[in-house]
Symmetry: C2
Subunit: 121 residues, 2 copies
Amino acid sequence: MHGIVLFAHGARDPEWARPFEAIRDRVRSSRPECPIALAYLEIMSPGLEEAIDAVIGEGASSITVFPLFMAQGGHLKQDLPRILDAIRAQRKHVPISLETSVGEVPELLDAISTWVLNRVD
Amino acid sequence: MHGIVLFAHGARDPEWARPFEAIRDRVRSSRPECPIALAYLEIMSPGLEEAIDAVIGEGASSITVFPLFMAQGGHLKQDLPRILDAIRAQRKHVPISLETSVGEVPELLDAISTWVLNRVD
């Protein structure tokens, strides 16, 4: 069974989590058999390690981490690979793959551009 | 003529800007008559005031600011309204409206969820 971890930045404001929870709920309703968890880089919890263990605990034998960041900076290019390498070293039986950020996905850039265009029409 | 300002967080890594530049280019190619500029909250430039003045300089008589943030935390709920109020006070002849963040737009949550689902299929 394949597990999904949605990885976001985190913030002090609890409302920060709302879009990520909404994405999780949408994915879960389409694929209820896939264990899915949110994870946060900082401030909010759970962190990435705890979320990965949660989806493994629900039966995931492989995992994809989706960084729900608009763009790639130091957090995704330096922090995340380091955190993920440490996690992988302790869980060699569960392959963990890493997707790109939202802003590197052409169809999502199209969707955001369409939203902007529709709002100024 | 309506102007568009795409407002992003900013980061030390110059690649951070790439998705925002891609969105700007997509919008510009569909609506070449609308002045459009990127703006950053921190680290990168231009800031919001400079970007707004740039689109006014290109002939915008009203402006919409699109916060290209995944979610709303302190930056959008406290910092941005304060910055925008100060800018508006100096430019009362140009109405400046503010859109919601990416993560508060249902069709963009759908698009992100669809991307996640397609990648785990």
